[in-house]
């Protein structure tokens, strides 16, 4: 058939078929030709963006491991967890980077993670954190960010925010879809306990909108749709260091701030377990830690890697953090409470 066709159509047809055959051969032989072992890491999108830590981390680690480091960008830490759950034991990922302590217990319950068997090098965390399955790589606290030019006197406590006039507009994220949203839910729960539902009711008139992700909320704030946005205490550092703007600041709250510790963990069925462990060691080393502050805009976990230019930032005296087990056990009820107050 092939012969007949090529005869009837002449040289162009022959060229066409040989091209197709060559392409097929290339496609089939592609994976076989790969020499370096591939380390696959699932992380969130902003980590691998061109201004994020991803490209620098990739170059630095590949220089010492002789491997091919491939990041797979997913939309958020909740997205990473979801992907791991869908793929289960057959996941091609070796490592997961970017979960936080609020979801580590939920992640552990999937039974897909393996102990890292490493000693934690984190000495700059504002509290004790040790976990057999996960290692911290950066941390920060949630805070409301405002523009000094638009808001002269921001509330100085959660209670002041709650009692502020309704003309003060804030934008927050949905705790079911965004990490900071869940952070605020836990923050309010830490401060108000059983009365958290009343807090949410009082806050309702001030909430312009509840977005599904951090960036949606932050861009709405930058465009002037709200006076304050739920973000991180380190967010103003981005504006001052990268943009040279000093008008953005985080409001320090008297009750203290809720802590977020970002962690990485390796999967039980990792195709490259040794490389995964090597990356976890590298992640705790000074090279990785010095990349983090001005690319991921979070605090490094090592004392010897503290960045310049972070000095003027809000550094709360008191931080809150629920044990991961408690978050895993209670979050459904707490979210239902928030939903009831938000409708």
């Amino acid at each position: 058939m092939l012969k007949k066709l090529s005869f009837s159509n002449g040289a162009p047809a022959r060229l066409f078929y040989s091209l197709i055959l060559a392409l097929l051969a290339l496609t089939l032989s592609g994976p076989v030709q790969a020499e370096k072992p591939v380390l696959t890491i699932y992380t969130y999108e902003s980590f691998v963006s061109e201004w994020g830590p991803g490209p620098k981390v990739e170059a630095a680690f590949e220089a010492e491991c002789g491997c091919d480091l491939q990041f797979v960008a997913l939309d958020s830490s909740l997205g990473i967890l979801g992907r791991i759950r869908i793929e289960g034991a057959s996941s091609p990922a070796d490592l997961v980077l970017g979960l936080d302590t609020n979801v580590t217990e939920i992640a552990r319950q999937t039974g897909l993670f393996a102990p890292h068997q490493l000693v934690s090098q984190a000495d700059a965390l504002p509290g004790q954190f040790s976990d057999p399955d996960f290692l911290a790589f950066d941390w920060g606290v949630f805070a409301f960010v405002y523009d000094r030019d638009r808001l002269a006197s921001p509330p100085d406590s959660m209670e002041a925010l709650r009692r502020a006039p309704d003309s003060l507009k804030i934008v927050i994220q949905d705790p079911r879809t965004a990490t900071p949203g869940l952070g605020l839910l836990l923050w309010a729960k830490s401060i108000y306990g059983e009365e958290a539902e009343d807090f949410w009711r009082d806050l309702q008139p001030k909430i312009v909108t509840v977005t599904k992700g951090w960036w949606d909320a932050y861009s709405l704030f930058l465009e002037g749709n709200a006076d304050m946005v739920l973000s991180y205490a380190t967010s103003p550092a981005y504006h001052s260091i990268a943009e040279g703007k000093d008008n953005y600041a985080a409001a320090e709250f008297a009750e203290g701030h809720y802590l977020q510790i970002e962690v990485a963990g390796m999967l039980k069925n990792a195709p490259q377990p040794d490389l995964a462990r090597a990356f976890l060691s590298f992640m705790q080393g000074p090279v990785f830690q010095q990349i983090i502050p001005t690319t991921n805009w979070m605090y490094p976990v090592r004392r010897d890697s503290q960045p310049a230019g972070f000095d003027g930032l809000v550094m709360p005296q008191k931080t809150w953090l629920f044990p991961a087990e408690k978050v895993a056990a209670e979050q459904k009820g707490w979210i239902a409470e928030w939903l009831a107050a938000s409708r």
């Binding site: 869908i86 793929e87 079911r176």
Partner: protein, 397 residues
């Protein structure tokens, strides 16, 4: 009206009767279905403690959680308001366009109305925000002249605005095509009789607009009921939601397949049955023999193997559909520590489809109710193959 005679000649009226009945049937089914859903939900709420407690509680736990119930209520309210606004505004505009006749830029205006329908929803949402939103230009302008707009804050008002942006042009186009079907002779007659605008509306325009209203209302209701991106971006939080958004958030938030399934069941129960009802209600069209476009219909097999082969093709398709559902059946992926990974389910994956494939042809007559085409092919092979390929299922006008 002179002598009480209708302006519309009898043959024209008879021709309209069919789509009218179809449209009415479809609209009625949709409304009935929505009512049934709500009825079931409230019935459960009030009878859970009664003699049917076991069944009620099981249904409550298995299908309708409070979140899904809220989402359904919110979606029904939002979709009804959106439909009402879009259809009334759209038909009003269509009438205005017809009354205005030809003018410079009419074609451009109509093209722009198509453009509104193909703009990606998230782009439109951003555009609407920048114009009508809290920091939008319209609000800024209104504030400068001392006005405070009642809408523009995130929430139902903004969602309705966005839905109108998409659906008013749709209703307008449908209304326009309905009004264009009025023959010139009728306009001339109305002019020579000196009819007032009100009489023209009720005697000439409304009978055709009614059909367009039913058609556009059923379509727009479905579109708004299942709206996702607009509600997610402009709804302002959990207060305004739809079943799609509820499913999304439930699945995002710690992969709660049970909650997703609850909302999904309500959505599926509502929309699948509405779709099936639409198909089933389209069946009477099967009996139309010939018709203007009969010569366009593809030649079709009437007897023997070809008929059976077509039946089997449809069976395979149904099989494939059902297998998709089976693959993501929440009982299997909802368990902690278990996943929907292909490796885990490969055994069953290969076993189940053949089972379906053997089973389906045996219950062909049962399935016939749900697959009108199949039913038609067996029952009246000569008359009705082209029936449900007509777009008039949704657009009776």
């Amino acid at each position: 009206m002179a002598g009480g005679q209708p302006l519309i000649p009898p043959p024209l009226r008879a021709a309209r009767l069919r789509p009218l009945r179809l449209g009415l049937g479809l609209g009625g089914l949709l409304l009935g279905l929505a009512g049934l859903c709500i009825g079931v939900l409230f019935w459960q709420g009030s009878h859970a403690a009664g003699s049917l407690a076991g069944l009620g509680a099981r249904l409550e736990a298995g299908m309708f959680g409070s979140e899904a119930r809220y989402a359904l209520r919110s979606a029904l309210l939002q979709a009804s308001l959106s439909t009402l606004l879009s259809v009334s505004l759209g038909l009003w505009l269509a009438r205005a366009l017809v009354r205005r006749g030809a003018f410079w830029g009419r074609g451009l205006l109509l093209s722009l109305s198509w453009l509104a329908m193909v703009v990606p929803t998230s782009v439109a949402a951003l555009a609407i925000l920048s114009v009508w939103g809290p920091a939008g230009s319209v609000r800024a302008l209104a504030e400068q002249i001392g006005l405070s707009l009642p809408f523009g804050q995130f929430g139902l008002a903004l969602v309705l605005l966005a839905h109108c942006f998409f659906n008013v042009p749709l209703a307008m186009r449908l209304g326009l095509s309905a009004l264009s079907s009025l023959p010139d002779r009728q306009w001339q007659l109305a002019a020579s009789l000196g009819l007032r605008a009100r009489d023209i509306f009720f005697q000439m325009e409304w009978p055709v607009l009614r059909l367009a209203a039913i058609a556009s209302a059923s379509l727009i209701f479905l579109l708004c009921f299942t709206s996702f991106a607009l509600v997610l971006m402009l709804g302002g939080g959990p207060r305004v939601t739809t079943l799609e958004v509820a499913i999304y958030t439930a699945l995002r938030f710690d992969f709660d397949f049970a909650a997703g399934r609850r909302a999904g069941s309500v959505a599926a129960a509502g929309l699948w049955r509405a779709a099936l009802a639409a198909l089933v209600s389209a069946r009477p069209r099967c009996s139309i023999r010939g018709g203007r476009f009969a010569w366009l219909a593809a030649p079709r097999p009437r007897h023997g193997w070809p008929v059976l082969a077509i039946g089997w093709q449809l069976d395979c398709w149904v099989c494939w559909l059902l297998c998709r559902f089976y693959r993501c059946w929440p009982d299997r992926i909802g368990r902690p520590g278990q996943s929907c990974s292909p490796a885990r389910s490969s055994g069953r994956r290969f076993l189940i489809p053949p089972w379906f494939a053997c089973h389906l042809p045996l219950s062909r007559w049962g399935w016939g109710l749900f697959l009108p085409r199949l039913w038609c092919a067996h029952a009246r092979p000569a008359s009705c193959w082209q029936a449900s390929s007509s777009p008039s299922v949704f657009l009776p006008a």
